[in-house]
Amino acid sequence: MALPALPVARGRNTGRPRAGMSAIERSRRRLYWPMLLPALLLMLLFYVVPILYAGWLSLHTWDGINELTWRGMDNYVQLAKDPIFIGSIANTLKILFVVGIITFVFAFALTMVLREMTGRKFVRSVLFFPTLINAMVFGIFAGFLFSPAGPVNKILALVGVQDPPKWLAQDNLFNLIMIVMIWSATGYFTTIIMSAVDQIPAYYYEAAGLDGAGPWTKFRHVTLPLAWDVISVCAVLWTMSSVKVFELILVFGGSTAQAPPTSTWATAVYVYQAAFGGGSREFGVSAAAAIVSLALVTVLTIGLRRMLRREAIEI
């Protein structure tokens, strides 16, 4: 606003000699390290050091008890040849792209519908809520609802479907997992996109409407370009969360004391199973898989940002 003098008085220039600093700036400097250090130390201890340690472990064979032995890149070679690991990477990519794209389409469709709807706040809250619940609960729900004698099949039988699909058969399991993910993620992304769309002034739509734009044209030429920044952030967020998917897969089917079928594993499940999933503890392999998933999330995030940025300029 009309306060141009204040930022100057605050002393924006970092290279300024001490004497030129305001009192507030000086006391801020004195408190800088004491206030920052605890968080910074935790960051080092729980992020920086563990990542470096994982990189180092991934070059060794270790069961957590015996001596650590050097293995070079062999863990990575082993992973590259392991069909289960390749499958889990493929599943992670499926979650990222298939679930991601469908979720975004739904989120946009919902945003468009909700924009002109009564009770939108209520609807948004109800759809948002699954985001806050441990995904395990949905895994158990799905296992129960889709069990052979479960409610879904009973309802289908009422409608006349006598031979319902085997929902929980190995071949269908991952698809069902993806459907549950779409359902639980849609509300979250709808909320984010809606908050961006709400900031678009209504007269843009009016103007487009006067020019004869239909709903699709308005969406394509008003909503999409103006909400683009948020969409690209959402894409990055989704990339990060899709690599983390764990609980849902772990319990899916609702009744497995052992590991879930390997055809449903994603990278997080693979890392967990290699290190702690019964049998021998293979910390080296697990760490290598972890490093691969970190590399994956890094490459995908950077790639997506690049891709989406270019599009934004195009519009």
């Binding site: 002109e116 739509y205 239909g214 009744s255 910390f283």
Partner: protein, 313 residues
């Protein structure tokens, strides 16, 4: 006008408030299509809402039904409330001790993470040092690190620390609390830094002119001003702590140390051998879901904003 009339049956109450949205629909050639599409859309949305609400109601009613009853008729209502599902789950199912552990771990870790992150977020938000942007970037990058990358290293580090210090870390709630605090730092710093940045600097300057020291300004002036941000950060830490599964699963191995998600997993495993106790299982699920549901009903707007608003920056 015609358009408005065809729409009015389902959207009449909103019509005056949403007037601008209807202006574009005056175009004569296009009057039916958006209305049909919009109507179908609305029906689908309300079906979705109904489904979500149904899940909550179904979860609660099922938790009050007899297990054999549930197996026979999965969608029925309880004939008489079977509260014993909850007592079984609480006592023999191990959910009681797990609930206490979950509450302790979640509250303590959330308080600590906010207490540690708030000062750091404050200096990062207000400082003009060049170093600060490097640190800010470090915290932001931390947001993108998947938990599984840290799983084995943190586990091994904790085990080693336990050997050295003889403080119980593995299979102890205090160990889990430390991990949850450490892992929660990047998000909380990120969230609070955004919040502190939005606070007007004039108030602090006024305090400084009045002779308030830096730390006093922070504690007595900035923190109270930032209360809503701190509450939001705390709530979000509570929710993520309450749902934490990966590290808890690896670290907590015995029944007396389990948190609720792990107790739920253990209960599932048990039902492999003893036959599924659906009533008990749903009682356990209710224990996991209800606190979050209550928080959401109470402070939903804040939670939603905390999880979405900072993102667009």
């Amino acid at each position: 006008m015609n358009q408005v009339l065809t729409q009015s049956p389902e959207s009449a109450p909103a019509a005056p408030a949403q007037a601008p949205a209807q202006v574009p629909m005056r175009k004569p050639g296009r009057k039916t299509r958006p209305s049909v599409g919009g109507m179908v859309g609305r029906v689908i949305v309300w079906l979705l809402v109904a489904f979500n609400l149904f899940l909550v109601v179904w979860m609660v009613t099922t938790s009050l039904r007899d297990t054999r009853d549930i197996a026979r008729e999965p969608l029925g209502l309880p004939l008489a409330p079977h509260w014993e599902n909850f007592t079984t789950a609480w006592n023999t199912g191990g959910f009681g001790i797990a609930a206490i552990n979950s509450v302790v771990a979640t509250l303590v870790s959330s308080l600590l993470v906010v207490a540690i992150a708030a000062p750091a977020a404050y200096v990062l938000a207000k400082s003009t040092r060049r170093l600060s942007s490097t640190f800010t970037l470090l915290f932001v990058l931390g947001l993108g690190v998947p938990g599984q990358v840290l799983l084995v290293p943190i586990y091994v580090m904790l085990a080693k620390f336990q050997d050295l210090s003889h403080l119980k870390m593995i299979n102890s709630i205090q160990g889990l609390i430390i991990v949850m605090v450490g892992l929660g730092i990047p998000f909380t710093v990120f969230l609070l830094a955004g919040f502190f940045r939005s606070l007007p600097v004039e108030i602090e300057e006024a305090a400084a002119i009045d002779g308030s020291s830096g730390i006093r300004t922070f504690v007595q002036i900035v923190l109270p001003l930032a209360r809503s941000g701190l509450v939001t950060a705390f709530m979000l830490a509570v929710i993520s702590g309450w749902n934490e599964t990966l590290f808890s699963l690896v670290m907590l191995t015995t029944a007396e140390n389990r948190t609720l998600p792990i107790a739920l997993l253990a209960f599932l495993d048990q039902s492999q051998f003893n036959g599924a106790d659906w009533g008990g299982l749903f009682a356990g699920i209710v224990l996991v879901v209800t606190p979050v549901l209550a928080l959401f009903i109470w402070l939903g707007r804040r939670i939603v904003e905390g999880m979405t608003v900072g993102i667009s920056k």
